[in-house]
Amino acid sequence: MGQTLYQKIYQSHVVGALNGSTDLLFVDRHLIHEVTSPQAFAGLRQAGRPVRRPDLTFATMDHNTSTQVRSYDAAGETSRKQLEALAANCAENGIELLDLHHPDQGIVHVIGPELGLTQPGMIIVCGDSHTSTHGAFGAIAFGIGTSEVEHVLATQTLPQQVAKTLKVEVTGTLSPFVTPKDVILAVIGALGTAGGNGFVAEFCGDAIKGMTMEGRMTLCNMSIEMGAKAGLIAPDATTFAYLQGRSHAPKAEHWDAAVAYWQSLYSDADAQFDKVVQIDGSQIRPQVTWGTNPEQVIAIDQPVPAPESFSDLIKADAARRALIYMGLEAGQKLTDVAVDVVFIGSCTNSRIEDLRAAAAVVAGKTVASGVRALVVPGSGQVKRQAEAEGLADTFKAAGFEWREPGCSMCLGMNDDRVDAGQRCASTSNRNFEGRQGRGSRTHLVSPAMAAAAAIAGKFVDVSTISNGASA
């Protein structure tokens, strides 16, 4: 019987059997950041263990940094200590760090691919749940906790068991203005936030093949929001073209051998998946979340659902609570709902293509009065490119704030927060209660939808605006 892509990569990384059904797997890349690593380094010191492979470990500062000032001091005393701890730990152990003053600093899941650190066939881990992003390259990439960070630092391995496999096939061609963000929100809406628990999801189908690497990253990024351990996509010519020439990608003398290996990375035709889901991509409309978890999502032209419409009593109760928290009513159209804040950024949607899509909607227009709108590019590279292309000027002219790279308002660990009761159209990945600040109300959308909301001061169906503009 054939193997799935996940099974191929898993097997090629087995160092040995630990016991029963647990294998020790080798880790090709370990990405670390300031928030989830200090306790791991402290643990190593306490046990007298060195970092086994500093050359396979890469660090950046992103979660806890100011996006206004490039200074360790800018986000407060405890934040400064955390940033200094990362710098000291990296210096002590010889780990490459892209700190706040490095031109390529940025969100860990934006810079990993950008620098060519992320490659097909790898196992990549990071103490952050959105590590699933890197699966876009045909790698097994998943988030780990701090104890596991310590384990990887010490041994460059991780104990794992084989996960179940889920095939998500998105067929057809996406409509104009329907983006990978809309696709993944629609998939999560269909499967639920726990639909992927215990599974590694492989995305395939014509709609996926047609996506750029940026789009594939957005898709895999949010596979954690349906509970999947990881999401991945078989590498192809799009993947190889993206990687060629990047600073940490295979050099010229190894390039052909690397590509030859990468071309063997696909699920065999007769591979058996534990679960298969098919979604017609041509039917997906621009999506907006209405509740407090990502499965509470609708197409922009659908009314907010009534709690009674859920046959599952617990889901109905969750919907009731979510509507109260979000200040919405069943039957309401989100196109009638005003926004206070617009956030374009995060490891989901802060890449150059995302900023281009948003800027195309913004060009020549002005942010609605009373709306606070900010764009936080994912990395120094994205920021420089957006400035060179004139996107930054477009945003600034329209009244957006243009910031330094970081996680920012996705989780509000720094001072970029949404106030209680305020409504935010956000390109990030989680609409949990209080995620962007205590009492904040988050609606997850694509960059174009967020940009359109900023201009209109309320949610709009971006496909109708754009049609009007092109007429």
Binding site: V15, G16, L18, N19, G20, S21, T22, L24, F26, D28, V35, T36, Q39, A42, R49, R52, D55, L56, N64, T78, K81, Q82, M122, G127, S129, F142, G143, I144, G145, T146, S147, E148, H151, A154, T155, T157, P159, Q161, T193, A194, N197, G198, P250, K251, H254, A257, A258, Y261, N293, I314, K315, A318, L411, M413, A420, R430, F432, E433, G434, R438
Partner: protein, 200 residues
């Protein structure tokens, strides 16, 4: 050695999809320590905006003070990978969580801190919630025999991965266990360098 892994008062948290942002909000993640998170547990639910205890939140109810077993529903611990979530739960005093299901990363993080997470069918979870509505419950967890002892000769069996069970019972340092495979790690690195020199 007793077969009882844990025993104590049960606190019922009747919600699905409790995410790690609720378990411990972001403002507590700036610490460089593993300790001091007990007060942060369920912060936004537990405290009102003025800092006083929210009397409507179950953890604040007088009959659940001192609880060490948390009963909840599906997909507990979803969201962020922050290990601060199990640290906060454990430092508050819980060492066992019983739920319909858990998010993967949260599950691993909890086990790595020696906590026991028990998954039961939706029907059994309903049964336990109904029971907890009758009054505060004191249960015992027999990990060796995989049973929750509810008292009055009533018990509910549970299944658990054999490797996870062994780790919890032995209390082994999981880095130390992996280090016993150091020769295999060395050999793997040698093979990797030869086959895929671009990986380093």
């Amino acid at each position: 050695m007793s077969d009882i892994f844990a025993k104590g008062l049960v606190c019922p948290l009747d919600k699905n999809n409790v995410d790690t942002d609720q378990i411990i909000p972001k403002q507590f993640l700036t610490s460089v320590s593993r300790d001091g998170f007990a007060e942060a547990l369920f912060f936004d639910w537990r405290y009102l905006a003025d800092g006083s205890a929210n009397p409507e939140f179950v953890l604040n109810e007088p009959q659940y003070q001192g609880a060490s077993i948390l009963l909840t529903r599906a997909n507990f611990g979803c969201g962020s990978s922050r290990e601060h979530a199990p640290w906060a739960i454990q430092q508050y005093g819980f060492n066992v969580i019983i739920a319909e299901s858990f998010a993967d990363i949260f599950f691993n993080n909890s086990i790595n801190n020696g906590m026991l997470l028990i998954s039961l069918s939706a029907a059994n979870i309903d049964f336990l919630f109904n029971r907890s509505k009758q009054g505060p419950q004191q249960w015992q967890i027999d990990l060796a025999n995989q049973e929750i002892l509810l008292g009055n000769n009533t018990a509910i069996g549970f299944s658990i991965d054999a490797d996870v069970k062994q780790r919890l019972l032995s209390g082994l340092d999981f880095i130390g266990a992996s280090e016993t495979l150091s020769p295999q790690i060395d050999a793997y690195e040698t093979r990797r360098r030869a086959a895929q020199p671009w990986l380093g």
